[in-house]
C-alpha cells in the first residue's frame, strides 16, 4: 500500500544530489551552515553550494546561480529571503529539480495576505515545473541511513522509528531526545506550512517504507481533514501510529444553534478522529517519546501484568508502595507472585526486611552478595504471574552500597537478562544527586536494548498505551 509514495519521495530521503541555495563564502549564513553539516555528516551524494557571493566555501565552489551548477540536482534546500523564492523556482524548473525544501519563513504562518498569495504563486510554479515542495518554513528531512543530519548537524543512529512533525522545534526535540534515549529513526521530517507535501504524504511514505516499523507525529492542524483521516486509517492498519495533536485550546467557539454544535470542540473532534483512525493519541513530548521507545524495544503490546522490583537496596516499603500505585494508576495490573516464587525468595533472602508480595523489595541481597541478588531477580522474572518486569533503580542509594563496579555488574546483568529470555525488562532510573553516574548507567542500558524511564508513572503509561493499541488491533482483526 502507498508503494508509489516510496518512488515519489525518494529524492527527499535518498537524494543523489543536494544544492543548498543561500550559502555564502564571505558571511555566516544558514545555507553555509547547512553545507558544512551535510559534509560533516558524511552525506554520500553530491553537494553544491549556491550563493550570490560566489567564491569558495572551504573546498567547494559557490555558484552564483543554481543554473550554473554543472551536474544534476535532485534536491534543493532553500535558505534565502522570501522575495527571491519565485525566481528560484524558475531556476529549479530549468535544472529539472525534483524536490525543493524551503527553510525560508515569512509566508502564511505570519497571517498576512501577502504570505498566503506568495504560497499560491509558489505552488503554481512548482506544478508547472513538475517540482514537489517541502515547507515552506520548516527544517525538512532527517535520514541517518543516508547521512542527512537535522539542523546544526545532529545525526543519530538509524533505526525503526519514523516521525512527521508540523513544527521544526518539536522535530528538533524529537531528534535530540532520540539521541539521548536511543530512539533511533529511520526517517523524520519537519514539514512546516505543508503547502504541497504535507502530513498525509509523509505518513503514506512511512507506511510503505520497509525500514520504518512505528510512526510518531506532531500535528497542529490540516488543510484537508478528510484526506488526513483516511490516510491515518490506512496507515494505522499496517503500523503503530502515535500522534500528538498540539494546540488543543479553542481560539473561538462557533455560535451553534444545536445542542450538539455547542458541545463540539476542536480538541474533542481531533481525539475522536485519532481514535476512529486507530492511532494512539498522546498529549506531550514525554508521552510521545516514551511510547515510541516502548514500541521500538517491545515491538507491540506484551501484556499489562507487571512484576515490580521496587527496591534493589532501598530497604523500605514506601518506594515499593509508590511504585505499585504508579503502575496501577496508569492501567497496569500488579498481581501477587506465586506462592512457589515467594517461598523460594524467603529461602534466598530471609523474611525480615524483605517484601515478596509484588512489588518486591530485595534489599536483603546487599548482605548476601551479587549472585544472590541476581538469583532473586531471576526468580521474580520467571514467575508466570507477570508479563513485564519493572525495576526501580535508585543510583543515589545503590552507589554507596555497591560502588561503581557493583553497579556496572548489576546493569550488565539486566542487559543479559533482557536478552536471554522473552519477558521485557524495563528499568526506572529516577534522577537524584548522582547524575553523572546515573547518566552513564542509562546510556549503558539503552545501548543494551533495555528501555529506561525517569519515573514509574511514565513507564507504566507508555506500556499501557502500547498494549491498548495491540488489543484494539487484535479485536479489529478478530472481527474481520
Amino acid at each position: 500500500m502507498f508503494e508509489e509514495k516510496l518512488k515519489e519521495l525518494e529524492p527527499v530521503f535518498y537524494p543523489k544530489s543536494i544544492a543548498v541555495v543561500g550559502a555564502s563564502a564571505t558571511s555566516i549564513k544558514a545555507g553555509s551552515v547547512w553545507v558544512r553539516d551535510l559534509r560533516s555528516a558524511g552525506f554520500p551524494g553530491v553537494i553544491y553550494a549556491v550563493g550570490s557571493s560566489g567564491g569558495r566555501l572551504g573546498d567547494l565552489e559557490v555558484f552564483p546561480n543554481l543554473r550554473l551548477v554543472p551536474g544534476e540536482v535532485e534536491y534543493v534546500i532553500v535558505a534565502i529571503p522570501r522575495q527571491s523564492v519565485l525566481e528560484l523556482l524558475d531556476d529549479c524548473a530549468t535544472k529539472n529539480v525534483k524536490v525543493v525544501h524551503f527553510f525560508t519563513a515569512g509566508f502564511s504562518e505570519i497571517g498576512t495576505q501577502q504570505g498566503r498569495m506568495l504560497e499560491e504563486q509558489m505552488l503554481e510554479k512548482a506544478r508547472w515545473g513538475n517540482i514537489r515542495i517541502v515547507g515552506p518554513n520548516c527544517i525538512g528531512a532527517y535520514c541517518p541511513e543516508h547521512r542527512i543530519p537535522f539542523l546544526t548537524g545532529i545525526l543519530g543512529e538509524s533505526g525503526p522509528v519514523g516521525f512527521v512533525s508540523q513544527s521544526g522545534g518539536i522535530a528538533t526535540k524529537l531528534v535530540t531526545i532520540g539521541i539521548a534515549r536511543h530512539i533511533n529513526y529511520s526517517k523524520g521530517v519537519s514539514f512546516g506550512n505543508g503547502i504541497d507535501l504535507d502530513a498525509s504524504d509523509f505518513l503514506q511514505y512511512l507506511a510503505a517504507d520497509p525500514k520504518t516499523k512505528v510512526i510518531g507525529a506532531y500535528l497542529e492542524g490540516t488543510r484537508d481533514g478528510t484526506r488526513l483521516f483516511n490516510t491515518m486509517k490506512e496507515v494505522a492498519r499496517v503500523k503503530p501510529l502515535v500522534v500528538w495533536k498540539g494546540g488543543r485550546t479553542e481560539a473561538g467557539a462557533q455560535a451553534a444553534m444545536s445542542h450538539t454544535g455547542s458541545l463540539v470542540s476542536s480538541a474533542a473532534i481531533w481525539s475522536a478522529m485519532l481514535k476512529q483512525a486507530g492511532a494512539i493519541e498522546v498529549h506531550s513530548l514525554e508521552e510521545l517519546t516514551d511510547t515510541l521507545l516502548i514500541f521500538q524495544q517491545l515491538g507491540h503490546g506484551r501484556g499489562t501484568r507487571a512484576a515490580i522490583i521496587g527496591g534493589l537496596a532501598d530497604g523500605g516499603g514506601g518506594n515499593s508502595v509508590a511504585a505499585g500505585d504508579a503502575c496501577m494508576e496508569n492501567g497496569l495490573k500488579v498481581p501477587p507472585l506465586s506462592s512457589e516464587t515467594r517461598q523460594e525468595l524467603v529461602k534466598l533472602l530471609g523474611e525480615v526486611g524483605s517484601i515478596f508480595h509484588n512489588p518486591v523489595d530485595v534489599s536483603q541481597a546487599q548482605f548476601r552478595g551479587l549472585p544472590t541478588l541476581f538469583k532473586a531477580i531471576d526468580l521474580v522474572t520467571r514467575d508466570t504471574t507477570s508479563d513485564i518486569v519493572l525495576v526501580q533503580e535508585d543510583t543515589d542509594i545503590l552507589l554507596p552500597i555497591y560502588s561503581r563496579q557493583g553497579l556496572e555488574e548489576i546493569n550488565e546483568f539486566f542487559i543479559e537478562l533482557g536478552a536471554r529470555q522473552n519477558k521485557p525488562v524495563i528499568v526506572v532510573l529516577p534522577s537524584g544527586s548522582a547524575e553523572p553516574e546515573r547518566l552513564q548507567i542509562e546510556q549503558k542500558l539503552l545501548k543494551g536494548s533495555i528501555p529506561v524511564f525517569c519515573s514509574m508513572e511514565r513507564a507504566a503509561k507508555a506500556i499501557y498505551g502500547v498494549n491498548q493499541y495491540s488489543c484494539w488491533q487484535e479485536a479489529k482483526q478478530g472481527r474481520l
Binding site: 483521516f229 450538539t260 454544535g261 478522529m273
Partner: protein, 220 residues
C-alpha cells in the same frame, strides 16, 4: 438570532427522519385548539403539546411545551397557554400551531446529534441526556461515516455507560437499537449534505428499541 428558513419544525424534521428509517415518536401539526383536541383523541391520551414555529429554537424555555395531557380539556387549555406564552416571549415569531404527539413512557434518555467540523466534515455525537450532557459534557464523537464498530465504541466510551446497562431498578437500554440508530443517522446525514446541524434530543431508549422523542434539523 434565529433564521426561520434554516430551522425545520419538529414535525418537518420528524417527517424526514421517518423516511430515513430513524425511529421517531410521530408528531402531527395542529393549527387550532379544535384540531389539537381531535388529533389528541385520535392518537390517544396522554399527549404532549409543543409550539410549532420556525422561529423558536428552544421550545421548553419559554413555556412552549406541555407534557402529560390526559384529556381534551387539558389539551385545549394547554394549547391556549402555549400560544400566549410564545407570543409574549417572541412577539415576531411565526406560529404555525402546535405539534401533538403521544407521551412516550420513560426510558433511558440519550442524545444523538450531528454538527459539521470545518476540517473533518459531519461529526456525530452521542451522550446520555439531561444533566449528564449539559453539566458533565459526557459525550463521545465520531466522524461520518460511522461504522458499526464506531457506533459500538462511541456508546461504550461515555462515563455514564453503566446507566445504559440498567441501574437502580431502571430498565436497561437496547445497545443494538442505539447502534442501529446511530448508523442510520450517519447514513442520513451523508445522504443529505444540506443538513448543517441535527439534534435528536431526547431519545428514549428501552430494552427493545430506541425512539427520538424530539428532533431538530438545521439546514445550511
Amino acid at each position: 438570532m434565529v433564521k426561520s428558513q434554516n430551522l425545520l419544525t419538529e414535525v418537518e424534521s420528524k417527517e424526514l427522519l421517518k423516511k430515513a428509517g430513524i425511529p421517531i415518536v410521530e408528531a402531527k401539526l395542529a393549527r387550532s385548539k379544535k384540531e389539537a383536541i381531535s388529533v389528541s383523541r385520535e392518537m390517544g391520551f396522554p399527549v404532549v403539546l409543543k409550539i410549532s414555529s420556525p422561529d423558536v429554537v428552544h421550545k421548553s424555555d419559554s413555556g412552549g411545551v406541555r407534557l402529560g395531557l390526559a384529556n381534551a380539556a387539558q389539551v385545549g387549555k394547554a394549547y391556549s397557554e402555549i400560544v400566549s406564552s410564545i407570543k409574549k416571549a417572541y412577539p415576531d415569531a411565526q406560529i404555525e400551531g402546535v405539534s401533538v404527539q403521544p407521551m412516550a413512557p420513560p426510558g433511558v434518555e440519550v442524545i444523538v446529534g450531528m454538527s459539521k467540523d470545518p476540517q473533518f466534515g459531519p461529526v456525530l455525537m452521542f451522550g446520555l441526556g439531561g444533566i449528564l450532557v449539559e453539566v458533565l459534557k459526557d459525550v463521545s464523537f465520531r466522524i461520518v461515516p460511522v461504522t458499526e464498530r464506531d457506533a459500538r465504541e462511541m456508546i461504550k466510551e461515555i462515563k455514564g455507560y453503566p446507566l445504559l446497562q440498567g441501574y437502580r431498578g431502571q430498565k436497561p437500554a437496547s445497545i443494538p437499537a442505539l447502534e442501529k440508530l446511530i448508523m442510520n443517522v450517519s447514513q442520513f446525514v451523508e445522504n443529505n449534505p444540506q443538513i448543517k446541524e441535527l439534534d435528536l434530543n431526547p431519545i428514549f431508549a428501552y430494552p427493545d428499541k430506541a425512539v427520538a422523542v424530539d428532533a431538530r434539523i438545521i439546514l445550511e
